[in-house]
């Protein structure tokens, strides 16, 4: 019994530490981007929006961060490239759903461009409550914790306690709650932004195909299929058709 009382806290501590270490492996604090970031901000403040947009875009390629994308959106907007600006703000919102300024800019852009707000399903709305990677880590933690709390007391011959079952039930509930959000994250990852103004939506994935609609720059759409250099997308009001890949970009582009 003494052995068990010693082992149990040590085991739990080790398990918790391991999960915590695994929970945040991806994000890294911006270390080498501070100076270029400041230079790009200065270019923006000086009115050199094109240079600022180039600098922010380079920063976003090397180390995507919410602040970088937010500023990239501002610079692109000032350069008159609405599609690219909305894409950058959508990416900033994807990374940091709590950024009020980014949300305000998206509202501003849609108001200015007379674009409809994205029509999200309920599970997609749920998925915006937390940063995207956190849902996966939360599900990971909750699932294995629930499983561990169901398995470990028997395996480790711990004395049966209510909190074992309580923790298992709570973890399982959390996991089940994360499942719709994970589905929402996945479906949102198939959404993208039309970059080119008046982008033609074609009947077939060919350059000579009949143009069904023309989508304004900045409109959100979902990718349903891919074929060659064309994407079959569905925009607001069920406007669906084939769009050239070069005129569209996914928000969660790899």
């Amino acid at each position: 019994m003494e052995v068990q009382t010693v082992i149990r806290p040590r085991f739990l501590t080790a398990l918790g530490a391991m999960l915590l270490l695994m929970a945040f492996p991806t994000p890294n604090r911006a270390s080498g981007v501070a100076e270029p970031f400041r230079a790009a901000c200065e270019a923006y403040a000086a009115g050199d929006y094109a240079q600022a947009a180039r600098s922010f875009a380079a920063l976003a390629r090397t180390g995507p961060a919410a602040g970088v994308f937010h500023n990239l959106g501002n610079a692109e907007w000032m350069c008159g490239r609405r599609g690219h600006a909305i894409l950058a703000w959508e990416r900033a919102h994807w990374m940091d759903p709590y950024a009020a300024n980014t949300k305000a800019n998206l509202r501003f852009a849609r108001h200015q461009a007379q674009l409809p707000s994205p029509d999200l399903a309920w599970y997609e709305i749920c998925s915006t409550w937390l940063p995207v990677p956190l849902w996966a880590w939360l599900a990971f933690l909750a699932f294995w914790l629930a499983l561990a709390m169901m398995v470990l007391p028997g395996v480790r011959r711990w004395r049966k306690a209510d909190w074992h079952q309580g923790l298992a039930a709570a973890s399982l509930a959390v996991f089940l709650l994360t499942v719709p959000a994970l589905v929402g994250v996945y479906t949102r990852s198939r959404m993208g932004v039309v970059l080119a103004p008046d982008a033609p939506l074609r009947l077939t994935p060919t350059r000579e195909a009949q143009v069904l609609f023309r989508l304004p720059a900045g409109e959100l759409a979902r990718v349903e299929r891919e074929r060659g250099s064309y994407l079959y997308i569905r925009a607001a009001n069920d406007a669906a058709g084939w769009l050239d890949r070069a005129e569209f970009s996914l928000i969660a582009a790899p």
Binding site: M22, T26, P27, N28, R29, A30, V33, A34, F37, C41, Y44, A45, L59, G63, P64, A65, A66, G67, V68, H70, N71, N74, W77, R91, W94, M95, D96, A99, N101, A104, N105, R107, F108, A109, H111, V132, P133, W135, A136, W137, A139, F140, W144, L147, A148, V151, L152, G154, V155, R156, R157, L182, V185, Y186, S189, I251, A252, A253, P254
Partner: protein
């Protein structure tokens, strides 16, 4: 333009001829009791008609029958004429037959010709060689006739003879709806002439009984030198069909050549001072009639310019006498309101239809009206943004000079929770028609609803010279003594400053509420923060772009969702393996708990392997004592699972007991005893072990150990 109805007295009966025309008698004869209207029964015999007329006259003595008969005849005549008009016949063709009826009474003809809207003579004076006239009532009915579908195209230069440098207009009129008219772009090139698109308008004219749509397109013409020009004929499109625009001729005279008649010219007069975006700037379209064109009116004014919106001003069309080249001429003034929407110096042009009275061909004949689309030269205005400095609270875009009448509450004594209506009248000059009611800021004791703007039309507000806003207020407690002051200010463009015109509070007596009213008011205050103005709701605010982020934030390796990455899926194997290992370990442990002999046997094997290694080392080193100890320990280890005891506690008898009986009594038993005896002799008698003899036992010991181990 309106129909002129001549009233005359019948010669025969002395009764007023309400219809006043030659056909009136025939219409009176047509009673509802006759088989048909005389217009359609002109072949009946005179005798029969006389008898029928006599009977009808008796019945028509009563007013009811007379009125119903007249009404019936009117309707019948209208239906009949409509059917004929639809077949393409002109009603004027029918009039002679009706007028030539026997017994028809001739009324007194008018002294001057009476014209319909299309300029046709309806009633001619005596002696005039006019076409047969018709009943004015019929003419009135004709005005509801259909459209003339014939497309006629005319083209002209206005004036056809001009002096070099003079304003010249190339005008094309097509009798079709404006939506269906298209001219080639560009027009045919005439060397020496530069044509620039100018006004484009649409109106209706009358051709006989039919309305005629007329689309007019003006082009400004600049001639480079004097001479005769011909705009060739070309094709245009009207109502989907190709039509031919006829050629037009222009003669441009050298500068200084006097002209017989000056053309009409439309001017846009603007104020000299600068104006502001959103300001209602009064401008005037002026038509100077220097050539005695008998201008009657101006209509359909339009302001064209990207930087301006136009608003119909209160149409006080007027005329005045102006001096042009020392000669007094008539000028027609049409006021307009222009609202600038862009900063900078911008131009606009005005256009309007001039209604001209074309002179009669001969004295005594009626004149015809004609309409001509005119457009003005560009007028320039300098537009500025309203200054940010000095803006006062309550400014909602009012530009001009205003003053606020004392507010009028719907009651001076109300109870808590009851609505109070406050009417505010703003008078003055400026953009009164576009005035936005000032908001009521958050007030503590009142629930305020957004003001209702003046629903009256623009012209009505201009006529009244005031806009009325209506606020609805609900007192939330009986501590209120007056309505809240409503901040309001306007920008005075003459003084170039903002002026405060705050709507003052109005004393009100608020009584305690009846039961139930107070909670409603409290609830409203709790929900709305005291103001029910949706403009103050965050969702309704005008969105603005925010500034830059100050920090780049957390850097991610990829935007892709991690649960779709392979490494994340592979990571799931770690806890799975951990838990699986723990589970398997537990199963194994439980198995050993249920079968302890397995543990002992395994321990015996491990010990045996160790002691065997010691035994071999001792034999190799010719260490007889070590050999004996290792051999005895190996025997003890092999005996321990059988005895269920610690191997170190076993003695020779215990080991022998673990051997089968045959082996115990045989050579194996002897071997064991020899080894134990050697060990005891060495331990208890301090004797030396005979090394060669003991070491010679090694093959037997090895064989016994192997045999014994195979039995475990």
């Amino acid at each position: 333009m309106g129909l002129m109805i001549h009233r005359s007295r019948s010669r025969a009966g002395g009764q007023p001829a309400a219809h006043g025309g030659p056909g009136t008698k025939g219409l009176h004869d047509a009673s509802p009791f006759r088989p048909a209207c005389p217009l359609s029964t002109g072949a009946a015999s005179p005798g029969a008609r006389s008898r029928q007329a006599e009977g009808a006259r008796r019945l028509l003595r009563t007013g009811v029958f007379r009125a119903s008969g007249a009404l019936f005849c009117l309707v019948a005549a209208w239906l009949f004429l409509s059917s004929l008009t639809a077949r393409g016949q002109t009603p004027t063709n029918l009039v002679p037959a009706a007028a030539a009826r026997p017994g028809a009474t001739q009324t007194q003809p008018p002294a001057a010709p009476i014209l319909n809207q299309g300029g046709q003579i309806i009633i001619a004076p005596p002696g005039a060689s006019a076409p047969p006239v018709m009943d004015p009532q019929m003419a009135a009915l004709m005005q509801q006739a259909g459209m003339d579908r014939n497309v006629v195209v005319t083209a002209e230069f206005d004036p056809p003879v001009a002096v070099l440098g003079q304003r010249i207009t190339y005008r094309v009129v097509i009798t079709a709806m404006i939506e269906g008219v298209a001219l080639p772009d560009p027009l045919p090139v005439v060397p020496g002439l530069v044509l620039t698109p100018a006004g484009r308008g649409f109106n209706y004219g009358m051709t006989g009984a039919a309305m005629q749509p007329r689309t007019t397109m003006n082009y400004r013409v600049d001639a480079t030198h004097a001479g005769a020009y011909v705009m060739p004929s070309y094709n245009a499109s009207a109502n989907g069909r190709s039509v031919r625009v006829p050629e037009a001729r222009l003669t441009v005279l050298p500068p200084g050549t006097p002209l017989a008649q000056q053309p009409l010219r439309l001017l846009a007069e603007v104020p000299d001072e600068e104006c502001y975006i959103g300001q209602s700037v009064p401008v005037r379209l002026v038509l100077v009639d220097t050539g005695n064109h008998q201008v009657q009116a101006l209509s359909q004014p339009v302001i064209r310019g990207d930087a301006f919106m136009a608003e119909q001003a209160l149409n006080r069309q007027s005329r005045e006498v102006r001096s042009v080249n020392g000669r007094p001429v008539q000028a027609y003034l049409l006021p307009m309101l222009v609202i600038p929407i862009k900063e900078g110096r911008h131009a606009f042009t005005g256009q309007a239809y001039a209604h001209l009275l074309r002179g009669p061909a001969a004295p005594g004949l009626g004149a015809a009206m004609d309409t001509v689309l005119l457009d003005s030269d560009p007028a320039w205005l300098t537009v500025k943004h309203l200054p940010r400095e000095g803006e006062l609270p309550g400014f909602t875009g009012a530009i001009g000079v205003f003053h606020v009448d004392p507010p009028k509450p719907s009651a001076t004594e109300i109870k808590v929770g009851e609505p109070l209506t406050l009417s505010v009248t703003v008078r003055g000059e400026g953009n009164l028609t576009r005035l936005v009611p000032p908001r009521i800021e958050r007030v503590r004791d009142w629930q305020a609803f957004p003001a209702l703007a003046d629903a009256s039309g623009s012209l009505q507000i201009q006529l009244r010279g005031a806009a009325v806003f209506t606020y609805t207020l609900i007192p939330l407690n009986d501590q209120s003594r007056a309505t809240p002051a409503i901040p309001f200010s306007y920008f005075d463009p003459r003084r170039k400053t903002y002026v405060d015109a705050t709507i003052p509070p109005v004393p009100i007596t608020v009584l305690p509420s009846p039961a139930g009213a107070a909670p409603v008011a409290e609830l409203a205050r709790a929900n709305q923060g005291g103001v029910d103005d949706p403009d103050l709701a965050p969702n309704e605010r005008e969105p603005v772009m925010t500034g830059l982020a100050e920090q780049p934030g957390t850097v991610w390796s990829s935007l892709r969702p991690i649960h779709t990455c392979g490494w994340f899926l592979a990571l799931q194997a770690v806890p799975a393996a951990l838990l699986s290992g723990l589970w398997l370990h537990d199963r194994r442990r439980r198995h050993f708990e249920q079968h302890p002999e397995l543990v002992r046997k395994a321990q015996a094997r491990r010990r045996l392997r160790r002691h065997q290694r010691e035994l071999r080392r001792a034999a190799a080193a010719q260490d007889a004592a070590g050999f004996v100890a290792a051999a005895i320990n190996a025997f003890r280890a092999l005996s321990a699972p059988v005895e269920g005891a610690n191997p170190d506690a076993l003695v020779c008898a215990d080991v022998l007991r673990a051997l089968p009986v045959a082996e115990r009594e045989g050579s194996e038993g002897r071997l064991v005893r020899q080894l134990f005896a050697a060990a005891e002799a060495r331990q208890f008698m301090a004797g030396q072990v005979d090394a060669p003899s003991v070491l010679a036992l090694r093959p037997g010991v090895e064989a016994l150990l192997e045999k014994w181990r195979s039995r475990l």
